[in-house]
Subunit: 530 residues, 2 copies
Amino acid sequence: MEISGTSIIGFSSAPQSDTSIKAVDPSTGLEIEPSFYNAESEIVEQAATLASQAFLVYSKKSSHERASFLNEIATQIESIGAALVTRAMQETGLPEGRIKGETGRTTGQLRLFASLIEDGSWTQARIETALPDRSPLPRPDIRSMSRPLGPVVVFAASNFPLAFSTAGGDTASALASGCPVIVKAHSSHPGTAELIARAVQKAAKITGMPDGVFSLLFGGGRTVGSALVAHPAIKAVGFTGSTAGGTALMEVAAKRPEPIPVYAEMGSVNPIVLLPEAVAHNGDAIAAGLHISATMGVGQFCTNPGVVCIKKDASGDALVDHFVEKMKDTAAQVMLNPTIHRAYKDALSKMQANKSVTTLVSGSAGDNDSPCLGTAAVFEASASSFLKDESLSHEIFGPGTTLVRWENKEDLLAILESLQGQLTGTIHASGTDWENHGEILEILERKVGRIVYNSFPTGVEVCHSMVHGGPFPATSDGRSTSVGTHAISRFTRLIAYQDSPQSLLPDELKDGNPLRIVRLENGKTVEATI
Amino acid sequence: MEISGTSIIGFSSAPQSDTSIKAVDPSTGLEIEPSFYNAESEIVEQAATLASQAFLVYSKKSSHERASFLNEIATQIESIGAALVTRAMQETGLPEGRIKGETGRTTGQLRLFASLIEDGSWTQARIETALPDRSPLPRPDIRSMSRPLGPVVVFAASNFPLAFSTAGGDTASALASGCPVIVKAHSSHPGTAELIARAVQKAAKITGMPDGVFSLLFGGGRTVGSALVAHPAIKAVGFTGSTAGGTALMEVAAKRPEPIPVYAEMGSVNPIVLLPEAVAHNGDAIAAGLHISATMGVGQFCTNPGVVCIKKDASGDALVDHFVEKMKDTAAQVMLNPTIHRAYKDALSKMQANKSVTTLVSGSAGDNDSPCLGTAAVFEASASSFLKDESLSHEIFGPGTTLVRWENKEDLLAILESLQGQLTGTIHASGTDWENHGEILEILERKVGRIVYNSFPTGVEVCHSMVHGGPFPATSDGRSTSVGTHAISRFTRLIAYQDSPQSLLPDELKDGNPLRIVRLENGKTVEATI
């Protein structure tokens, strides 16, 4: 499949424009052909207007029809084959295994959402039937369910060219709910974006979806993205990326004449608390697991463990030594793009220059072979240094880990209390450690979206119960999740129908429960089975 | 029960401060004793800090304990008796029947939320058990549920001194979810607020709830409210009131270092579409119903029908005549407070001065007997006038209705399309009217939270399926509702527990489903029955 470099507006292609960007191969620093043309303002307008028109048709498609569309997208993505793997590897520096695994995750997500909506139970259908004789006032017939919000803009993530990008989790959940999607491609991997977008376009045609149910816009910088978020046709935003990028979009969305929800996943330092008995009994295994978690994907995961709290005692020292050894032995690997690589190097330099921090592994060695090589780094700070210097709790995006050495429980609790909202919080505990567990859990419950026991935060399972969210600034809206089936509710709102004729009700709310879904009828959960 | 006029901080009373306000009896324009002292900034600080501490205890109370608290609040409110009715009538001008009815609605809401949480199914408990042998990677054990956000600030509404105020829907849903509440009393009915707050305080003591689970602060103007919303301990806001008030709070909340959700219900013109055959066959009944809906509670309901679209034909003219006659015959009634009365008069004056509007009932007669009498008013505008002048779609808070006379379907659709987000949209249809129904429904589905057929929007049933919400500016967040049990989800966020020891899990997520709740286990809805 040839890559054209022009934005995709529904079933059409946008013309080339005056300005363009090229992707860069992070392993060589060289530009990759072809050029990708920035979407000009009339292209934004066209895509938004078409999405708005498509919404009228798409929001009325049956769950079954939408599910076919999602399944067909998965099939079409699989049929791209080697061209996708080659291009994605070239644009991101990620190895073949990762790209193939991520493709599987992406198609898996699409199919999971398809199966979710095949069963309409996700719509929270609720019915209260009329009580005409109730005193003092009769009760009307009231039925409500979740309905799609309208066109959604999805921003592709740098670190997941497939699973959190063009047809990633945000797109899958928005399309599943009945919302058309306009993806703003990430300028790091525009070719991958186009390949996937053409698969989505093809699937939309094959399954009879309306023109405009999906578009993909290219654009360097923030102009195209901001214009999309500000457009009155857009009703919600999904974003995975930096705090600066996410908060900028939150501001644009809040300033609109009609403010809209922004679901921005902006990262986290994912604190890990290692309690003494776990460290004493299991230190080597913890060090090995932490090393894998900290360096996996060159540390470029939202759930990468950035801050690890270890008691200052002999077992703790031994664990640190073991971890440091493994981090030193870790080969430098290509990071996603020059910007991320530069930011990583800058963050390391700042840590190295910080007098209250000890650099255990410098991360700077071997960086000269390739323009974007990232080397694992380890820093150590005392609890009091960490508490005095807020910058030590900032995310280092890459394989850099800060070990905070606490001496007593008060310090440990203060460290955790000092942290902002996080995606995850992890506890390693054993034996008597559990006695101190209550207060730690209490703090984490206020700060994080997922609490992990005796394991590591990387590896976010895509399932019904997953929560990949957390209080600000981990996300813009900690009430939801961007991974797992709960994500569909982000793009819906409740609508009630009062005394509606049966024929005008959505099938989910009709008498007799024709879709055989789980719903609440007069206060009772009813699970209809065929 | 004596009214002290001092703010209530948990189980204590704040001292008197230097500034105070008094309530005004709208039927006489005279001030009512005693003075209510403005909460100074240290009182805001105290209440917020105490709520934060209370959250640690309260969020861990079992559903059963929280339910007892809610039920006891209802009992305590009922035991206030005549003092409450007298004071509320005096402060709001509302008749005895309404105050008694609203008390019943308030205690009913509290008991409904108590029964909701007695059954923990509302928490969206979901479980995926571990698959240690899954290939290529094992699946961990993941369980998630809704957990309370933290202290919530509730702003009392002018127009519902009980059901949307101190222990109204927002307070009931926040307390039910496990969040402490700080109520900012409405300065129109502070005495009513104090009586109810003391009932809540007593219930908290009786049922062993922590000090600070509930506070009530007095304060004229916006200082106290803004300080509460800006306070870092506060995690969400519930508000019912004006667009100006609601959007000001949205701005404060968005500008915090940690932005928080604001659920502001800001009103609506609740368009009613009368289709020709319904008007021809049923005009008199529609006119009579519309009259009741438009004048009920002196038109001071969020769901008051402000814009009614009637075809310009003979049947439409007859309906208008009939409606006008009834509105003219409607006795002036005392409005809630001088500010609302003044705003109503100003809105009528603007409409009367508008050359594109015909004043059918002026609303100004008989206003001199009492300072706050509001008289029903009816205005008429053509579709083209309505479409040209956006001010005609602004809410007139009070018994004023604007009739928009359309001549063809295109006009009608354009009128509806021109409207902003609304709480409700109503359609009266009969026979061939249904043929045109699709396009109208399509527009309303994008604009409103509740679609009402052949009835009227006033009278919001408190039940599981109710949606009292709608796109901005009807509310700040159209994804939820402020009436009915869905409202509880506003004050929660999802938390996942990965590989948690059984003993540390909330009961809702434990193996064996000890609470016997409806939950999702490995993708299957399980309803455990004892």
